[in-house]
Amino acid sequence: MARIEDIPLGTREAVVGLDCPPPTTFPWVRTRPLAQSRIAILTSAALHRRSEMPFPVGTTEHRELPATFPASDMLMSHISINFDRAGFQRDINVAYPIDRLKELAAEGVIGSVAETHYSVMGSTDPATMVQTADALAGSLHQDKVDVVLLCPV
């Protein structure tokens, strides 16, 4: 469906027309071999604990998702109604592949899975999220994370 021709007509224009300004810098971090790398997930699906309030519209906040956080306690409060939720309803890994990362760590394919993963509201203008990026980077460095796997929905 994310082939442009597969996106339903009513949604296609909004998705394709979304402004994605080109970057002004091109950072490139050389990382350690995968088998030694510690990996965290950053999802834009607005995932959070069941006990927490939903993500407000336009928020720049991020929420922490501990690696041990049970799937049964996870809700999605993304503002958009124009993407599929049925897959996530069946299996969180289709949007947030935490179990797959744990399997790769157990097999030695990756070094380790970060203790904490992160969730943001994907519809928020990235230009307003500089402080969020600073805070996330601080937490990632503290947890000695080498690689962030970004999973937008």
Partner: protein
């Protein structure tokens, strides 16, 4: 933004034009439905192929921008031939927009037929994604129908406006029905689930009626939440 702060990144992206313009350092474009970056639910092998292709980009030394395409479609992207919902909802006649009694009666009857399947789905999947409204399913209809004549009732949830609660009830309602229809049988496509819900349930009729009421409302919160966040674009022609 994260790479600029010293941590390597790799993105699994669903919209190629966005990736072409935003130029992340390492990007794997996947041709899956929006909402499914790993492609196929309950298919570890497929998900590992996607994840493996993304992580393999970390070994590249060809930056600052590497963009590759994942070569496979996900099996459930396309309609499951012959799929029929195993759950039968009662026949209904769409009530007049402000006939609150008829809406309540019809919705209660429909929900009673859906709840056992939802229960089976929560057992099958080990969880539910219903819950962001913080309102019990038995109270959804009574709260939602009060918006049909343009009224905006008091919010039952502290910290959330009534329009936002109504919107979250809509999310919960869709989640409950869509989980329920997946409780038994082979996996339908996302399109099949959506077409079933939006074309064959009174709950969807209610959401479209609420959208129509919101469009006519001068209440800013209800107008915004109801007109934009209840029915997805491909189905709004019903409203």
């Amino acid at each position: 933004m994260i790479e600029a702060r010293g941590v390597a990144t790799v993105v699994i992206g669903l919209v190629r034009p966005h990736m072409e313009s935003s130029k992340p350092p390492r990007g794997l474009w996947v041709p899956f439905p929006l909402g499914r970056p790993l492609g196929e639910p309950e298919d570890k092998t497929f998900q590992h192929r996607v994840l493996g292709a993304a992580l393999a980009l970390l070994a590249r030394d060809a930056g600052p921008v590497v963009l590759e395409d994942f070569p496979e479609d996900a099996p459930s992207m396309r309609d499951q031939p012959g799929w029929q919902p195993q759950m039968v909802v009662p026949e209904f006649v769409t009530p007049a927009a402000t006939d609150v009694k008829a809406w309540m009666s019809g919705l209660e009857t429909e929900l009673a037929s859906v709840l056992p399947h939802w229960s089976a789905a929560t057992h099958r999947f080990g969880r539910t994604t219903v819950g962001i409204s913080r309102v019990a399913p038995s109270d959804w209809a009574a709260f939602a129908v009060r918006f049909l004549d343009g009224s905006v009732p008091e919010s039952p949830i502290g910290g959330l406006s009534s329009a936002v609660v109504m919107r979250y009830i809509a999310d919960d309602m869709k989640a409950l029905y869509m989980e329920a229809v997946q409780a038994i049988g082979p996996q339908p496509s996302s399109g099949q689930i959506n077409r079933w819900f939006w074309n064959h349930t009174l709950a969807a009729e209610l959401l479209c009626a609420l959208r129509a009421a919101a469009l006519a409302s001068t209440h800013t919160g209800f107008n915004t939440a109801g007109s934009r966040f209840l029915a997805p674009a491909p189905f709004v022609t019903k409203a």
